[in-house]
Amino acid sequence: MNIGHIAVEPAIVIKTRGGTRVNEWICTTCGTQYVKSDAPPSQCSICEDERQYIGSAGQTWTTLEKVQRSGYRNAFYGHESNLIGVETVPEFAIGQHAKLLRTPHGNILWDCISYVDDVTVDLIRGTHFSARP
């Protein structure tokens, strides 16, 4: 659509039960998500640290909605009984994996990944011990 002379891309918002998460910017290099802001942050404090790096194309940002519309999925694999690996495919950011540890006292997610969607939430909730008959 056009507002005055400015072409504006219509907002595409994927409905999720967690509510919409527009303008919560994710650094494409390290995968860190920042608090909501109209414009992307001026810099990524993780990538500015001497332990990290800014990609050769410069600082770039995305959002979870864009990543969800770009064909990313989470894949699950078994390490051993009650320990499940979670990997975003294709690789996103620095290729982080998460580990889902099931215990009779509750589930623990160890390590962080940027990508999440409803099916990931459903599958993780379904692994809770009390969710099993």
Binding site: Q33, Y34, S45, E50, R51, Q52, H105, W110, D111
Partner: protein, 129 residues
């Protein structure tokens, strides 16, 4: 980052999450770097989940410890000794790093201690070989 009232910070050498799981502060990679000990993992012998704090090497027989992995900045002898001393009391046979295949299947505790010793020897070495 994303502030949330559901994030709880902790301090001290360890925190008990439940009867099977404790978190242990090691430092090193980051000042607050910690590992997760799953006491009943690895068929009851204990499994350690380490992320990048204890990094599984390509041969899956050793681990390493770094201040920065992408920029290749090592840690000092004093910090390696500190990290080693915090891992030594923990009981575990298996170690899970970051990726699907970064796993030391058995004798991981021995591998960790041998790796720390090898790191310290490398820092002290004066002759090329």
């Amino acid at each position: 980052m994303h502030p949330s009232d559901r994030i709880q910070f902790w301090s001290g050498p360890e925190v008990v999450l439940n009867p099977d799981v404790t978190l242990h502060h090691l430092g090193g990679h980051f000042a607050g770097s910690s590992v997760l000990l799953w006491k009943v993992g690895a068929n009851g012998k204990g499994a350690l989940l380490t992320g990048d704090t204890v990094s599984v090497s390509a041969d899956r027989r050793f681990v390493s410890f770094m201040y920065s992995f992408p920029n290749r900045i090592p840690l000092s002898a004093a910090i390696i000794e500190s990290v080693r001393s915090k891992l030594e009391p923990l009981s575990f046979d298996r170690l899970y790093g970051t990726q699907a295949d970064s796993v030391i299947e058995s004798d991981a505790k021995g591998a960790v201690l041998r790796s720390a010793d090898r790191y310290l020897e490398a820092l002290e070495r004066s002759n090329e070989r």
